[in-house]
């Protein structure tokens, strides 16, 4: 049985309109979503369906036009209460939301450890403590042998694992993954999804994976289809990854 305490993120009636008047474009038309801690869900839809807009709203990068967003039971956006309920959105993103991008987008001038350790350092953790925590995660993601190496020296799969470690390092309740397997072949793509599932279980994070990668869609137990700014929930196959 799912209680409110188990819900990592809940969206109610979320809308987003770009522009105004005759040129207004309604990207989101009332999205409802609810994701539990430790759960990995797929967000699937064609180009222009509103996936990126939804991700940006969830990531507190753009402001929704209306609706309600709850993170770990706390309202972070409520249009009836005047919009964002959190003053420091950067701190919100840093501490409570993890991001994984289409490409790893690691900081090229930092080594593997510091790419991951940067976030806890930004949150005020000491360098040593942040690096220790980063190394633990890097080891857990099987890139421990590449610690101290420049990120440009890593393979695509290794870079994506470091990016996953970075998204997890501050133990955020929610991780937003924007087509994380797009540049990878099927073996590596499935490996990334397996890692995301393991990490979700280990750290209790809710992970939303935006994708239209046919290879990984069958692995989700729950899928949100987004079309014309509206979401429809359906049960996924939840296929096991070997």
């Amino acid at each position: 049985m799912t209680t409110d305490k188990d819900i990592a993120i809940r969206l109610t009636g979320l809308t987003k309109t770009y522009g105004s008047g005759s040129t207004a474009v309604q990207a989101l038309r009332g999205v409802d979503m609810s994701i539990r801690r430790g759960e990995v869900v797929g967000l699937v839809g064609p180009s222009g369906s509103g996936k990126s807009t939804l991700l940006k709203c969830l990531g507190a990068v753009i402001e929704p036009s209306s609706g309600h967003i709850e993170l770990g039971g706390e309202a972070i956006f409520d249009d009836r209460a005047g919009g964002w309920q959190i003053d420091d959105l950067r701190a919100l993103r840093r501490d409570r939301i993890g991001f994984i991008f289409q490409a790893p987008y690691l900081i090229p001038f930092l080594d593997v450890t510091d790419n991951v350790a940067l976030l806890p350092m930004l949150a005020g953790m000491s360098n040593d403590e942040a690096r220790t925590r980063a190394r633990e995660l890097i080891e857990a993601l099987d890139v421990g042998h590449r610690i101290g190496v420049r990120v440009s020296m890593l393979s695509g799969g290794e870079q994506q694992r470091v990016a996953i470690a970075r998204s997890l390092v501050n133990h955020p309740p929610v991780i937003l993954a924007d087509e994380p397997t797009a540049p990878l072949d099927s073996t590596r793509a499935l490996a990334v999804v397996r890692i995301l599932n393991e990490m979700a279980q280990r750290y209790g994070a809710a992970i939303i994976v935006v994708t239209h990668d046919e290879k990984i869609i069958p692995t989700f137990k729950r899928i949100y289809h987004i079309r014309d700014g509206r979401t429809e929930e359906e049960a996924g196959e939840g296929r096991e990854i070997a």
Binding site: G59, R93, Y105, I107
Partner: protein, 397 residues
Amino acid sequence: MINLAARDIGHHLGRFVFTGVGLGLLIGVTLTMAGVFRGMVADGRAVIAASGADLWVVQKDTLGPWAEPSSIRDDLYRSLAGLPGVAEATNVAYLTMQVEVKGKDVRVMLAGIEPGALGEPAQVIAGRPLLRSHYEAVADEKAGLALGDTLRIRRHDYTVVGLARRATSSSGDPMIYIPLKDAQEVQFLKDNDSLVAERARTAANPALNRPGVPGLLDAVLASQTTSHNVNAVLLRVTPGYPPDEVKAEVGRWKHLTAWTRADMEDILVARLIATSSKQIGMFLVILAVVSAAIVAFIIYTMTLNKQREIAVLKLIGTQDRSIAAMILQQALALGLIGYAVGQISAILWAPFFPKHVLLDPGDAALGFVGTLVVCALASILAIRAALRVDPADAIGG
């Protein structure tokens, strides 16, 4: 916290250092230009100091003897020496000319002095000062002459008996000291052909060649072929006596103009090189603007190349001030490299300049602060561009 600027610099170290070296050469040119100006000021002051005079007496209403032509009779020094407060009075003649030194033309200032009197070079580093009344010379070491060399000036050969240091004119030309009589001849006497023609013209003038006045023509010719003019009289004032009082006396009774050391410094430093200093000032402004433009362009380009990283940094919670600090630190680091390279370059190439380049520590400090200020200002454009980067750019298309 990780120093993002240092890491980024380390990542592009080669490119960064090369850029810094390029900027440094430009800063080196800027510091050298300032050094050229300082050298001109120092040369002007050195000429004044080297002469040992307290007052320069010149033709009335002229800025002589260096800034304007001045010609006065060479017997005036006697009456000047008799003025109250005057301890010593000496004739001097100055003439800028081209001489041939070891097959090369060298522009020099010829100084005619009385051996052992005022106006002698302050620092003779080899050989001896002038002792004889004719045909010997003491040359500044930059003239390229050695002891014992023979130097042809107009109709006569001069033997170099001494070498002086820091004996240059206010425009940086090396000075060659010769006896006053020789300098007067060099300055005022004509060549043989002109003399013959002049004598013929004088002899043909019935007013100057009267049959009933024997000796008139000879007297006139003698006056034409001897020079009794000098450019200035140097005065040394009795210790404790105010030079301004002597100056006033000279102006009131002798119908001449006298300049004190302060006046002469004003003439040589403020007036004579005023145009040059404006010229150099313009160069300095242009070089500063060019340096700023280069730093701004480089830092701006580096920032544009990092737009995606900056978007990611913002998305994951990096504060704007940290990103601005990263760019500012990079600009300042570029300035530091540039300044160090510029300073070293200026020190290395300054001795090879034909004129005196004085690298003043004050200018170096000002250049250091100026470089950092210019770099900081130049980073503003890049910081603005970075702060405009939308963290949303890191997500999706």
